[in-house]
């Protein structure tokens, strides 16, 4: 694949993430912050998000797995994940966390278990898609090209 085709593929792929609602405009904010002084800013922040989320999801699994669920422990974790997913533009993860928090407030254990699964699903989806996006970017840079700006047109 030549450079122009790679750049077009990246643009189309990135657009699809917005059209599917996996990412929202906050991700564009991060891209706008990236510059020559910190050319890997977006991938650095997203990597932090992955590390943070892996830890939180693990803690949530443990907390919800207890015989008596302590929602004072569960809710702050979901709040954290909602915050960081919102900050990087992982819209579907954030939305899943909003639903999760509502069930935490109701102390509905069964529903919270379902929510945890949903959050995990959305998280692994955005993780997979972003890892693919960064690989596409790396291929372009390795071929001597520039990463094109995303024009969403909607």
């Amino acid at each position: 694949m030549d450079l122009v085709q790679m750049q077009k593929s990246l643009q189309d792929y990135t657009k699809s993430l917005f059209l599917e609602g996996i990412l929202d405009s906050q991700f564009l904010q991060l891209q706008q912050l990236q510059d020559e002084s910190n050319p890997d800013f977006v991938s650095q922040v997203v990597t932090l998000f992955f590390q943070d989320s892996d830890r939180i999801l693990n803690d949530l699994s443990l907390s919800l797995g207890q015989q008596v669920v302590d929602f004072k422990k569960v809710d702050p974790h979901v709040h954290q994940l909602k915050g960081s997913s919102s900050s990087i533009g992982a819209q579907r993860v954030k939305n899943a966390c909003v639903v999760f928090r509502n069930f935490c407030e109701q102390q509905n254990v069964e529903a919270c278990h379902r929510c945890l699964q949903q959050v995990k699903q959305e998280y692994y989806l955005v993780k997979n898609r972003l890892e693919t996006l960064f690989k596409l970017e790396q291929q372009i840079v390795a071929s001597g090209g520039m990463i094109p700006a995303v024009e969403l047109g909607f």
């Binding site: 991060l30 912050l33 510059d35 800013f41 922040v45 709040h79």
Partner: protein
């Protein structure tokens, strides 16, 4: 707003403190401030913010998260005001219901913005707190 249109406030030598326990938010908030030329430090909770001021550090602007362990944003804001700290404090939180916002404002905030923070929201804070005049 394009990169080229962003104001550079480096000449004004503004300083800011980011108070947030979330590393993702810390990274983004610091980058937003740096992009506008604002020197900044970061701490992980309200107690560290208070300790920083006790040790003699002072900032023009504090971006204060609400939910933090050890000492939350409401407690830290109250404490800083009790200490006579007159820095502008902007609450930045995902909690946006009116009751929570009112409680946070009454602790001593000068402004409040809902997360996620963006360049526009940060400029709005700076404009409202008279650090930046929009042209």
């Amino acid at each position: 707003m394009t990169r080229e249109e962003l104001p550079n406030l480096a000449e004004s030598k503004l300083t800011a403190l980011v108070v947030d326990d979330n590393f993702v938010n810390q990274s983004i908030h610091q980058k937003l401030l740096a992009r506008l030329g604002i020197q900044n430090d970061v701490v992980c909770n309200g107690k560290e913010a208070v300790d920083a001021h006790c040790s003699g550090r002072n900032y023009d602007l504090i971006l204060m998260d609400m939910d933090m362990p050890i000492m939350n944003g409401i407690q830290a804001t109250k404490r800083l005001r009790e200490m006579g700290i007159e820095s502008k404090i902007a609450g930045v939180t995902t909690r946006a219901n009116e009751g929570e916002k009112k409680e946070f404002m009454e602790a001593g905030l000068n402004d409040f913005q809902e997360k996620p923070l963006t360049i526009s929201k940060l400029l709005s804070i700076l404009h409202k707190l008279d650090f930046y005049v929009q042209t």
